[in-house]
C-alpha cells in the first residue's frame, strides 16, 4: 500500500464556497460553478425538500406522524448528496435524511412509514438502493463500507454515499467505518452534515479538532470542508468525491457546515440550548434563497420556472398528505413473519397465540 502525502489529505482552511450567502458569486470564476442545468435541477430539489419538511412538520402537529426530524436549513446537503449519485449507487441515510431518501425516488409515504409508526423501514432498500434510515448513530457507516466493498469485489462501479451528523462522528462506528473503507479502498463518500448540534450538545462538546474534516487524515482519507448551505459548492465537492471514489481513490470525507433551523424533532425544545439570535443569524444563509438569488441574477431562473417547481412540490405534498391520511391497518402477523425467513416453531406458536387472542376478543366484542 502506498501511503498518501499528508498534504493531500488535509482540508482547506475555510469551507469551500461558490455562491455566497447573498447569492453573489464566491467561486474564483463562474466556470467552477456546476452547469446551469445541474443548478436548476438542484433548485427544484430544494423547493421540493423544503415543501416536504413543511408538510411533515404539519403532519406531526396533526398527529399523522409520530415524530419528524426536519432537514429545514439542511436541504442543500440533502439534495446535493443524491444528485451526484448514479442509479446503481447506494445512499445510506440517517433518521434525519428523509428528504434525501425522497429525493432519491423513494415513494414519500413509504419513506414516512418509520415515522408514522406503521412499520420500521417502509421501502425496499434494494429497489431504490437506499439503505434503511439508521437510528443508532453511526452504525450505518460500516454497512456502507461493506456494500461498497462488495461492489469492489465484483468489479462493479458502485459508489456509496453515507450520511451522518456532527454528533455521530464521535461514535466508535464512525472510526471503524472510515478505517475499514480506507484500508479496503472502498468507494464511500462520507458526508458529515455538521449542523452544529447533536440534539442540545454543541460542536464544542463534540470535538476539539480544528474541524471535522481533519478527521480524514487519521485514516488516510482526504477531508474537505464545504459550505453546507451552498448547493453549488456541495455539488462540486461531492461530485468530485464521488468521481475520486469511483476511480479507485478510496473513501472521501466531506464536512458540510450547515444549520438545523428547527428543533431536533418536534419532541425537542431548542430554546433550552440555543438563542433565538443564533437561529436568526442563519436565516440569511438559507440554501434556497441563496441559489434562487444567484440563478435569478444569472437569468437562468425565471418566475415561470420557479412557479413550476413550486407547483410540482405542492402536487407531491398533496399526494403525500392524501396517502398519509389513509389509515393503514397494520397486520399483526407481520410481527412474526419476518423475524426469520421461515418462522421458527416458537414464533409460529406465538403468532397462533396472538391470533387466538384476537379471535376471542372479536367474539367477545
Amino acid at each position: 500500500m502506498t501511503r498518501r502525502k499528508p498534504e493531500t489529505l488535509l482540508p482547506t482552511a475555510t469551507p469551500i464556497c461558490f455562491i455566497a450567502a447573498d447569492g453573489s458569486l464566491a467561486a474564483r470564476s463562474a466556470d467552477e460553478v456546476p452547469p446551469v442545468a445541474e443548478l436548476l435541477k438542484a433548485m427544484r430539489g430544494l423547493v421540493e425538500a423544503r415543501r416536504f419538511n413543511k408538510l411533515a412538520s404539519a403532519l406531526v402537529r396533526q398527529g399523522r406522524l409520530a415524530v419528524y426530524p426536519s432537514t429545514h436549513g439542511q436541504e442543500a446537503c440533502q439534495v446535493a448528496a443524491v444528485q451526484v449519485l448514479d442509479a446503481d449507487d447506494w445512499l445510506f441515510p440517517t433518521y434525519r435524511d428523509t428528504t434525501a431518501v425522497v429525493a432519491r425516488g423513494v415513494d414519500p409515504a413509504e419513506a414516512l412509514t418509520l415515522l408514522k409508526g406503521d412499520w420500521h423501514t417502509g421501502y425496499d432498500p434494494h429497489q431504490y438502493k437506499v439503505a434503511p434510515q439508521a437510528t443508532p448513530l453511526g452504525t450505518q457507516l460500516t454497512h456502507a463500507a461493506g456494500v461498497a466493498y462488495a461492489a469492489v469485489l465484483r468489479h462493479e462501479p458502485t459508489v456509496v454515499m453515507a450520511l451522518c451528523g456532527d454528533g455521530a462522528t464521535s461514535e466508535g462506528e464512525f472510526h471503524a467505518a472510515l478505517n475499514f473503507a480506507a484500508v479496503f479502498r472502498a468507494p464511500v463518500v462520507f458526508l458529515v452534515q455538521n449542523n452544529g448540534y447533536a440534539i442540545s450538545v454543541p460542536l464544542s462538546r463534540q470535538t476539539a479538532a480544528p474541524s471535522l474534516a481533519y478527521k480524514g487524515i487519521g485514516y488516510g482519507v482526504p477531508g474537505a470542508i464545504v459550505d453546507g448551505n451552498d448547493v453549488a459548492a456541495l455539488l462540486h465537492v461531492l461530485g468530485e468525491a464521488v468521481r475520486q471514489a469511483r476511480a479507485g481513490g478510496g473513501p472521501q470525507l466531506v464536512e458540510a457546515l450547515t444549520y438545523r433551523m428547527e428543533a431536533h424533532t418536534n419532541a425537542d425544545d431548542a430554546t433550552r440550548y440555543r438563542d433565538a439570535a443564533e437561529v436568526k443569524a442563519w436565516e440569511p444563509r438559507d440554501p434556497l434563497l441563496r441559489l434562487e438569488t444567484y440563478l435569478r441574477a444569472t437569468g437562468a431562473l425565471t418566475d415561470e420556472i420557479m412557479a413550476g417547481f413550486v407547483a410540482d412540490a405542492e402536487a407531491i405534498a398533496r399526494r403525500t398528505r392524501a396517502e398519509l391520511n389513509r389509515d393503514v391497518t397494520p397486520d399483526p402477523t407481520d410481527l412474526f413473519q419476518h423475524v426469520f425467513d421461515t418462522p421458527t416453531p416458537q414464533l409460529a406458536a406465538e403468532q397462533r397465540m396472538l391470533l387466538d387472542e384476537l379471535a376471542r376478543d372479536a367474539e367477545g366484542a
Binding site: 418509520l114 464521535s170 461514535e171 462506528e173 450538545v201 412474526f336
Partner: protein
C-alpha cells in the same frame, strides 16, 4: 419520626420528578457525585430527568459529553477509579449496547478482578421498555443482558417512592448498579417522601395481598399486574402482587414465601421471554416451590420478536387480559 398523615407528608409526584429529586439530593449530599451523559446538561435530558441540575450544581457536576456511549461508561469507570461517584445516563436502552463491552468486561468485573481493591461506585441509568410509541431502538427491554452478567446490581422502580429511594441507594452503593427506568412510567404519579428510610437493594415488596395466586412483576408491568389483580378480585379471585424492584439480587425469600402460600404463579414482564429474567424467575420458583405448586408457572412476556413499531406495540405489551388469561390457565379445576 412522628407519623404524619400521608396526604400531608407525601405530595403526588411523577417518577421523573422523583428521579430528578434523587439526583439533586445526591449531588447536594456528596461532592463526589457526578452526573453526565448525552443532553443531560442545559437540556436536562430528553426525559428531563436531569432538569435544572447543571444550573444548580454547575458544569463540573452535571455535564454533557461527546456522543459515545462506550466513552461515557469508560470515562465513568475511570472517574470511579479515582474517587468519584458517576451517575450516567444512556439516552435509550438500545443505545447502551455500544457500551456493552465496557459494562460486561469492566464495570461488572473491576471489583472482582482487583479482589475488591478497586470498587466502582457508579450508576448507569437506562430508560427502557416501551409503551410510549417510540420508533425502533427506543423501546428495548434490555434488563436480561445485565441481569445475566455477574457483578452488576440491576434494579427497576415501578413508582415514584421507589424511584427516589432506589436511586439514592444505587448512588450510595459501593458497586455498580444498572438502574433501569421504565419510560412508560416516567409520568406516572404517586406518593413519595424524599427523606424516607431506604429499602436497600435486593428487597422485593408485596404490593397487594392475595391468596389464590401470585403475580410477579417489575417495572412497568407492576401497574398491569395490580390492575389484573383488581379485575380478578371483582371475579372473586384473590391475586397477590409482588414487585421485585431488584432483579439482581433477587429477593428469593419473599418470592418463595409468596408462591408457597398461594401455590400458583404468573410472571409478568415486557421483555421477550426467551432466556430472560422471567425465565429465571419461573425456573427458580418451579425448582424451589415444586411441591407446593398446584399448576405450572406461567409467563406473560413479550413475544420473541424485535420490538414492534408504534402502531403494533400494543400486541407486544403484557396486558391485563393476558395476565388474566394466564391466571385462568392455572389449572383451577384440578386443585
Amino acid at each position: 419520626m412522628a407519623a404524619v398523615p400521608a396526604s400531608e407528608a407525601r405530595p403526588l409526584v411523577t417518577v421523573a420528578r422523583a428521579l430528578n429529586r434523587a439526583l439533586h439530593d445526591a449531588l447536594a449530599e456528596d461532592p463526589s457525585v457526578l452526573v453526565f451523559g448525552e443532553d443531560v446538561g442545559v437540556n436536562g435530558g430528553v426525559f428531563r430527568i436531569t432538569d435544572g441540575l447543571t444550573r444548580e450544581f454547575g458544569e463540573q457536576r452535571c455535564f454533557d459529553t461527546p456522543l459515545n456511549e462506550a466513552g461515557i461508561v469508560g470515562f465513568a469507570v475511570g472517574l470511579a477509579m479515582n474517587g468519584m461517584r458517576p451517575v450516567i445516563e444512556m439516552q435509550f436502552d438500545a443505545f447502551a449496547y455500544s457500551a456493552f463491552e465496557q459494562i460486561v468486561s469492566h464495570v461488572a468485573k473491576m471489583g472482582n478482578r482487583t479482589r475488591g481493591q478497586v470498587r466502582l461506585p457508579m450508576v448507569i441509568r437506562i430508560p427502557y421498555a416501551g409503551g410510549i410509541g417510540g420508533v425502533e431502538h427506543h423501546c428495548d427491554s434490555s434488563e436480561a443482558y445485565y441481569a445475566h452478567t455477574p457483578g452488576l446490581y440491576v434494579v427497576t422502580p415501578s413508582n415514584p417512592a421507589d424511584a427516589y429511594a432506589l436511586l439514592r441507594d444505587a448512588i450510595r452503593s459501593p458497586d455498580p448498579v444498572i438502574f433501569m427506568e421504565p419510560k412508560k412510567l416516567y409520568w406516572a404519579k404517586g406518593e413519595a417522601s424524599f427523606g424516607e428510610v431506604l429499602p436497600g437493594i435486593g428487597k422485593a415488596v408485596v404490593r397487594r395481598e392475595g391468596t389464590d395466586a401470585t403475580l410477579i412483576a417489575y417495572g412497568s408491568s407492576v401497574p398491569i399486574a395490580l390492575e389484573a389483580a383488581e379485575a380478578a378480585a371483582e371475579d372473586g379471585r384473590s391475586l397477590q402482587v409482588i414487585d421485585l424492584r431488584s432483579l439482581v439480587p433477587l429477593d428469593d425469600e419473599t418470592l418463595y414465601a409468596a408462591v408457597r402460600a398461594t401455590g400458583r404463579a404468573v410472571v409478568v414482564a415486557e421483555a421477550s421471554g426467551f432466556a430472560s429474567v422471567a425465565s429465571e424467575i419461573a425456573a427458580r420458583i418451579s425448582e424451589n416451590c415444586f411441591h407446593t405448586l398446584l399448576a405450572p408457572v406461567r409467563r406473560v412476556t413479550g413475544f420473541d420478536i424485535p420490538y414492534p413499531p408504534p402502531k403494533l406495540e400494543h400486541f407486544q405489551l403484557p396486558s391485563v387480559d393476558r395476565v388474566l388469561d394466564a391466571v385462568d390457565d392455572l389449572q383451577w379445576d384440578e386443585s
